[in-house]
């Protein structure tokens, strides 16, 4: 009896894969990551499609953050292949990933808090007018672009000359998202975007996240907050002990099942518990 749901799930996955449009923006196959003797990630297959919000869930150390770092170019995978926009890629640095349209907004680590709003949005991708090879900043153009970006996000930041460290959590998320938009990112990864935010700010960030997907971008969020995930995600993938153990569409699951998967109470979770 216990095998039945697993079997059903397996068949579903198979049909899902067959039905998956061939143009899934990201196709990760057999991704593994070892740190010395420790296996942080094992044989993970994931598709990420444009226009949808995909949530990655799992307990601490389940592997979701490691997977995100592989996508972001911060970790080089030990096994597997990554195809992005049809090209097989091998990122050596976050810059490589950014060049392929992948932008990552790390929780607490997204911005340089000592710098101004505009400086953060453009950091590493400044608009410049080279004079004798020296990259002079085109500050007027950047200020104009910042206003457009923040307007697009409907974000209210009274003083764009202020250091980011003086902004609220929600404002910082808006700046980080503006940065991703400015980089013309087609995949935006958000690590715990609503952690430590007040209710009203959480609402805003979730709206922003939906809007990003509706504009045709692929969005991945990593979150512990099940309610937020159910509000914003189209699809959910649960990690456990370095493996992907379940993939659900929002319409076909409920918070109880997801929590059971995360905590290991769900039968599907036992896949990961085998040695």
């Amino acid at each position: 009896m216990a095998q039945l749901p697993a079997l059903v799930d397996g068949v579903e996955r198979l049909t899902d894969m067959m039905q998956a449009p061939p143009d899934a923006f990201v196709q990760a196959r057999g991704i593994g990551k070892r740190f010395g003797a420790l296996t942080a990630l094992r044989d993970v297959d994931i598709d990420i499609r444009a226009g949808e919000v995909l949530a990655l869930l799992g307990d601490n150390g389940a592997g979701k953050t490691t997977f995100v770092k592989v996508l972001a170019g911060a970790h080089v995978p030990s096994d597997g292949t990554l195809r992005i926009g049809g090209d097989t890629v091998r990122f050596a640095s976050p810059r490589d990933a950014a060049d392929h349209g992948v932008a990552t907004i790390y929780q607490e680590l997204a911005l340089s808090e000592n710098l101004k709003v505009a400086e953060n949005i453009f950091l590493g991708h400044e608009l410049v007018r080279p004079v004798l090879g020296v990259p002079f900043l085109d500050r007027a153009a950047m200020r104009a672009r910042v206003r457009v970006l923040l307007g697009e996000l409907d974000a209210h930041i009274p003083d764009i000359e202020a250091p980011v460290g003086s902004l609220s959590g929600g404002q910082r998320q808006a700046v980080a998202i503006a940065r991703a938009l400015n980089l013309d990112a087609r995949l935006i990864i958000m690590d715990e975007p609503t952690a430590a935010l007040a209710v009203a700010e959480t609402r805003k960030v979730l709206n922003l996240t939906r809007r990003l997907a509706e504009s045709g971008r692929a969005v991945v969020i990593v979150s512990h907050n099940i309610a937020d995930v159910f509000e914003v995600a189209d699809r959910m993938i649960v990690f456990r002990r370095g493996r992907k153990i379940a993939e659900r569409k929002r319409a076909e699951t409920d918070p109880d099942e997801i929590v059971a998967l995360i905590t290991g109470a769900h039968p599907d979770a036992r896949v990961a518990d085998q040695p």
Binding site: P94, S112, L115, G124, V134, P135, P163
Partner: protein, 315 residues
């Protein structure tokens, strides 16, 4: 980059300089003369240049304690270029070029050796000192011609060329920091190197370039050293790294990086030199000068801690 606390620090330092000038002028008739003012500025040239490089490094969260030895090596090369009768333009470029290479060495050890900057440059300090010893062979390089001295002391509309060169160096640094991508990249690295890398910055390139720039400034300081003292001994630059770090910290660039104040460094060096000169002129024995400088540094740092506590307490 110029948040309120930075500007506040600049004002405090400027006020301290002015107060010191008034106090010393009151206590010693010899202090408030144009000649003595020129002396104070002239004594600051090398320290200003070296402290400028140190400011960039410290804003980046690094430090270079080998700067005095780099100045020594480049001063020797400059002196020998002078003795070899090379054209003066070439003589003045030898030091900065060699300094940039030595700085690049330090940067390479720090970046690729993954050794903390203070440890790596401490080791290089010993190496460079040994280099000075080997080159000098235990002799002084003395009695050098005064060609460079004339360049540095030449006056345009009453302003010595040496001071103009120092001002130009600071002006160029200001332009790079405020008007090019270098400034935000440097400060992002100083704030959090890993985060800067995650944000896609070419961290290694910026770090190497900054060490090289600091080295070139030490090399320029070596040129000034030859111009002003016209001799080189084994002990050249033994204390200047600590003086530079003190001036930078006084100026408000924190030792852990992420913030920078060029104006603060200019004023920090000025204050140190005014104190050294003024204390002697009013008859305080030179032994006490280091005590005063040390006390000043501790005073400023602890005042900062108290103020910050008061501010966060009030908020």
């Amino acid at each position: 980059m110029d948040d309120q606390s930075g500007v506040g620090r600049d004002l405090t330092l400027a006020a301290a300089c002015v107060a010191a000038v008034f106090l010393f002028a009151l206590l010693s008739p010899a202090f408030g003369t144009a000649g003595n003012a020129a002396t104070v500025l002239r004594n600051g040239y090398e320290l200003w240049l070296i402290a400028l490089g140190m400011t960039l490094l410290m804003a980046m969260g690094a430090i270079d304690v080998s700067v005095g030895a780099v100045m020594g090596v480049t001063a020797i090369l400059t002196g020998q270029a002078l003795l070899a009768d090379l054209p003066l333009g070439v003589v003045m470029l030898v030091g900065p070029a060699a300094g940039a290479m030595l700085g690049l060495c330090a940067g390479a050890v720090v970046v690729w050796g993954r050794i903390p900057a203070i440890v790596a440059t401490l080791g290089l300090f010993g190496v460079f000192r040994m280099l000075i010893f080997l080159v000098l062979g235990g002799q002084w390089l003395s009695g050098l011609p005064a060609d460079l001295t004339r360049v540095v002391d030449w006056r345009a509309a009453g302003v010595p060329a040496g001071l103009l060169i120092v001002a130009l160096a600071y002006g160029a640094a200001w332009v790079f920091l405020r008007r090019t991508t270098y400034g935000p990249h440097l400060l992002a690295i100083g704030f959090d190197e890993d985060r800067a890398r995650l944000m896609g910055l070419a961290v290694t390139r910026v770090r190497l370039a900054t060490f090289a720039a600091s080295g070139a400034l030490c090399g320029l300081a070596g040129v000034f050293y030859i111009a002003i003292y016209r001799n080189v001994s084994m002990t050249i630059g033994a204390d200047i790294a600590l003086e530079a770090v003190a001036a930078v910290i006084l100026g408000g660039t924190p030792i852990f990086g992420g913030r920078i104040s060029l104006v603060g460094t200019v004023l920090g060096v000025l204050l140190l030199r005014i104190l050294q000169n003024g204390l002697l002129l009013i008859g305080v024995p030179s032994l006490w000068q280091t005590v005063v400088t040390g006390a000043l540094l501790l005073g400023v740092l602890s005042a900062e801690v108290v103020l910050r506590r008061a501010r966060t307490g009030a908020a």
